[in-house]
């Protein structure tokens, strides 16, 4: 069987159709960062450990480093860059600012994207539910207490949690 070397594909990234030619071994993370200029998803490990690259694929949080871009073709992808509306922070983003759920900030986009998908499903979570939901993201500054506070506060605050 001959492997197709180049694929002409499109993605719906943050609501916009983006067309490009990709190679079959490229990850979604590479495509976002290196070819679409969206560096908000971070490459912390490139091996499904840290969650810094978390984006939403059809509203489900995924490690972008573990999704081959060809698998995601034609699908809706939301990155951290797609959360603001009219220059206003998304309630979860605002909550991370207000509750200092941030230190160095490298893991922050990943945490916020995971939290986003979680709060979509769980309206009034308990602290334990928040912990379980975010257990696939690592923060080495270990701002965990403040991250939990931020997510809980966002769940109390926002009508609009949807990305």
């Amino acid at each position: 069987m001959k492997i197709k070397k180049r694929w002409d594909v499109f993605f719906i990234v943050n609501g916009k159709r983006r067309s490009l030619t990709i190679e079959p071994h490229w990850t979604l993370l590479e495509v976002l960062r290196d070819h679409l200029g969206l560096t908000g998803a971070k490459k912390g490990c490139d091996r499904a450990e840290c969650g810094s690259c978390t984006v939403l694929l059809e509203r489900e949080p995924v490690y972008a480093c573990q999704v081959l871009a060809v698998q995601a073709r034609g699908q809706r992808i939301t990155t951290i860059e797609g959360l603001e509306r009219n220059g206003k922070l998304h309630p979860i983003q605002q909550s991370f600012v207000d509750h200092d759920g941030v230190q160095c900030g490298f893991c922050t986009p990943g945490f916020i994207m995971t939290a986003n998908a979680f709060l979509e499903r769980t309206r009034r979570p308990s602290p334990d539910q928040v912990k379980q939901a975010l257990s696939g993201n690592i923060c080495r500054c270990s701002a965990y207490a403040k991250i939990i506070e931020s997510v809980l506060a966002a769940s109390r605050r926002g009508k609009r949690t949807r990305a």
């Binding site: 600012v97 900030g105 403040k146």
Partner: protein, 757 residues
């Protein structure tokens, strides 16, 4: 300070928070330049070998490969540190740099590494520092395997102290290789314009570390090197190695194009800088009346292949033994030994967590032997505000070290007894502490505690520039970097407070050698104290200038003007208010800018920060699992500049070091020297489900020497964690753990022995 504080002590929102939550903040690996190439590093597969030959022809012939660099390209004596060449003909650990490639794509560069043929002559490898330090051991460096001169420090005479003692307690303690593992892997991006280099890189010291090392490694004057750290994705002290930046710059020079080099996660673990593993032997003498007559600590640390910042690490390891407990006689001996392991370097609090782990477990054992509650023992014996007994050695008028050996010098402030009192109360020590191994069932609970002391934040020098623009906005320029801890927020608050204006008018710029004054490394928890003092001084000078100008302009004297909510109130000759902007307009462009350089410190006092931590754990004797049920961290870091950020910093330090205490270790195969677990999951960094209920307490009493009363805070939280946990485990199951990390397998092994006895 007569006026009350308006900005210091308030939880100002962290600077750059909005950029971080939107993903807009660009870290080095996010930067791109037109025509940029990608670099990759070839690493040694052998722990110790001489390179006989390197053939790069096949790699160079690959389409897309632009340049290859090997030791052949490095002029002899082009060194980054005395034991570290830019590239060397000898490799000293598995992962040591051999060659570097630049290509149009990262995957091509990676593929090219496999086409470089290297012939090695294998040399004997040493992984155990005790073996490596033997006189006949095979030398890893030309001068032998002792890295630097062993240090010996003594106050009084421990020999005399032991002679006066009734009991002598001895013990040996070990700690593991522990990686900082910041979320951002190291990255660099280099661009040449003629003979001048601009390099963006992960760095905690653009002025003092990267710039001189790059200039040295490239053979160009420092003025031709501009280093910029755009943002740090976690520092923890570890990002100060310099080979990567130099290789990136050399590739860019050879290609005539910008080159970006990023470490993989595995490289970050192996070729980054880890916490030195340590072996500490402690000997403590106790007199008939229960006084500590002498403390003698001896530490041996495995350096790995290169010195890095080992000198500072080994020194800091001894400070707890020299100074945390009141005793006329204390001695510390520290030895660094080269081994063929990944390089150990700076990591949060350097050697202090290792040294104070040994000390605080040892003191817990002594308390028990003397039938004293561990808290009571510490209350009786910890160093008091008047300092250590003995005579001052530092000549009068000279700055006192914040890591002194001598006695006879009081602390600027020492609220350790408050830390003990408040922490004990919060965890319910009096009510809940019990004798060891006395709770029933297989889930046994125990309470433990430990103290910690650390330098208060003196840097060799610190500089800051404060400039007010005609529109009234103020820019603070510092040469340090916010490594993610929030230092810039703190410095901005100090600047705004000193100026007497709203923080929203102030911005801060740092981490760029071209636009900021010389500054120390963001290290030793020195930013708040030292840089804060420099910022405060520059801001105060500017404020005074403005007031003088206003007085001259209005024909009044200084007694008749006062600061009122960011404006200047004049009471005589007529009552009038001058706005900040009007006042600023009176200054000439030169007058609007103040630059200071200071040597921070005190000639009268030792400046130290203190902590007491308390932990409650539950040990499952069937699985060996340790759960931290409750944790209390009480700190004396002087006045807290930003309470929320400070709390975040303490919580983060505690959780990071719960990993050091219980789970984390970088493992090496001792036959091959290969790192076995260079990744997050197997190195086992704590995740969010590991977060215990955690309470942070600040004594929050201003230090007379610190800027607005502040002292060091960044590293102290990492010091008492491991001993507090080990002591709590002892209290739960009656077994001492003197070797870190305390993993379930070690617990189960010892429980089986306990059953047998």
């Amino acid at each position: 300070m007569p006026r009350s504080l308006a900005v210091v002590g308030k939880s100002l929102t962290r600077l750059g928070a909005a950029e971080k939550v939107t993903g807009r903040l660009q870290y080095t690996g996010d930067l791109k330049l037109p025509g940029m190439l990608h670099g990759k590093i070839l690493r040694s597969p052998h722990p110790h070998a001489r390179i006989v030959s390197i053939d790069t022809s096949a790699a160079e012939a690959m389409p897309g490969v632009v340049a290859v660099i090997t030791p052949k390209d490095i002029p002899p004596n082009r060194r980054l540190q005395s034991d570290l060449a830019v590239l060397d003909w000898t490799v000293r650990f598995v992962g040591d740099e051999v060659a570097a490639v630049a290509a149009v794509r990262e995957d091509i560069a990676e593929a090219a590494l496999e086409r470089i043929r290297v012939e090695y002559e294998i040399l004997p490898a040493l992984f155990d520092p005790l073996e490596a330090m033997k006189p006949d051991a095979f030398p890893i460096h030309p001068g032998g395997n002792l890295a630097g001169k062993p240090i010996v420090l003594e106050r009084g005479s421990v020999e005399a102290g032991f002679a006066q003692s009734q009991h002598i307690f001895e013990g040996t303690y070990t700690t593991q290789v522990h990686c900082a593992a910041g979320m951002e892997p190291r990255a660099a991006l280099a661009r040449w314009e003629g003979d001048s280099l601009t390099i963006w890189k992960s760095s905690r010291g653009v002025h003092m570390v990267d710039r001189p090392a790059l200039a040295q490694g490239l053979g160009i004057p420092a003025e031709q090197v501009r280093v910029i750290c755009p943002a740090m994705g976690g520092g923890f002290g570890s990002k100060d190695e310099t080979r990567m930046g130099t290789l990136c710059a050399l590739l860019a020079r050879k290609c005539g194009k910008p080159v970006r080099l990023e470490y993989t996660r595995e490289e970050e673990f192996i070729a980054g800088r880890s916490r030195h593993p340590s072996i500490t032997h402690l000997k403590v003498g106790i007199s008939r009346s229960g006084e500590i007559t002498a403390i003698h600590a001896r530490t041996i640390m495995s350096k790995g292949a290169y010195m890095s910042s080992g000198n500072a690490v080994i020194r800091r390891c001894g400070q707890g033994s020299l100074y945390l407990y009141r005793t006329p006689n204390a001695k510390y001996e520290g030895t660094l030994v080269y081994t063929n392991l990944p390089v150990a370097g700076s990591y949060r609090a350097l050697g202090a967590p290792q040294g104070q782990f040994a000390l605080e477990v040892h003191m817990d054992k002594i308390a028990e032997a003397l039938s004293l509650d561990p808290l009571e023992f510490r209350r009786r014996h910890h160093v008091q505000p008047e300092g250590q007994p003995g005579e001052r050695q530092t000549p009068p008028g000279e700055l006192v070290s914040d890591q002194p050996v001598e006695g006879g010098i009081p602390f600027s402030s020492n609220r350790l007894s408050e830390c003990l009192r408040l922490g004990a109360k919060a965890i319910g020590w009096q009510r809940r502490w019990h004798s060891p191994n006395s709770s029933p069932g297989h889930q046994k609970r125990g309470l433990g505690m430990a103290m910690g002391l650390y330098r208060g934040g003196l840097a060799h020098k610190a500089g800051a520039e404060v400039e007010v623009h005609p529109d009234g906005s103020v820019e603070i320029r510092v040469g340090t970097i916010d490594v993610g801890e929030g230092a810039f927020t703190t410095l901005l608050q100090i600047g705004a407070e000193a100026l007497g204006i709203e923080p929203s008018r102030v911005s801060i710029l740092g981490g760029d050698t071209a636009t900021t004054p010389e500054a120390p490394v963001t290290s030793g928890s020195s930013t708040t104290f030292s840089m804060g003092t420099a910022v405060k001084e520059a801001a105060t000078t500017l404020r005074e200038k403005i007031l003088d100008r206003v007085c001259a302009h209005m024909g009044t004297s200084r007694e008749s003007v006062s600061w009122n909510k960011g404006a200047i109130q004049i009471t005589r000759p007529t009552k009038k208010k001058v706005s900040w902007k009007e006042a600023v307009a009176l200054l000439s462009p030169e007058e609007r800018r103040v630059r200071v350089e200071i040597r921070p410190g005190s000639t009268e006092f030792v400046i130290n920060s203190f902590a007491a931590h308390f932990a409650e754990v539950e040990v499952d004797t069937e699985t060996g699992k340790v759960t931290v049920v409750k944790y209390v961290a009480a700190h004396d870091s002087g006045r807290i500049v930003n309470p929320v950020a400070a709390q975040n910093q303490v919580e983060g330090g505690v959780i990071q070091m719960l990993g050091f205490a219980l789970t984390e270790e970088l493992l090496t195969d001792l036959k091959t020297g290969v790192t076995l677990n260079g990744n997050f999951l197997e190195h086992k960094v704590p995740v969010i489900v590991d977060l215990p209920p955690l309470k942070t307490i600040f004594v929050n009493a201003p230090d007379p020497a610190g800027p607005f009363g502040a002292k060091a805070l960044g590293e102290p939280p990492s010091i008492p964690v491991a001993p507090a946990i080990s002591n709590a485990i002892y209290n739960a199951i009656g077994i001492r753990f003197q070797d870190l990390p305390i993993t379930p397998d070690k617990i189960l092994d010892k429980l089986r022995l306990q059953e047998r006895d």
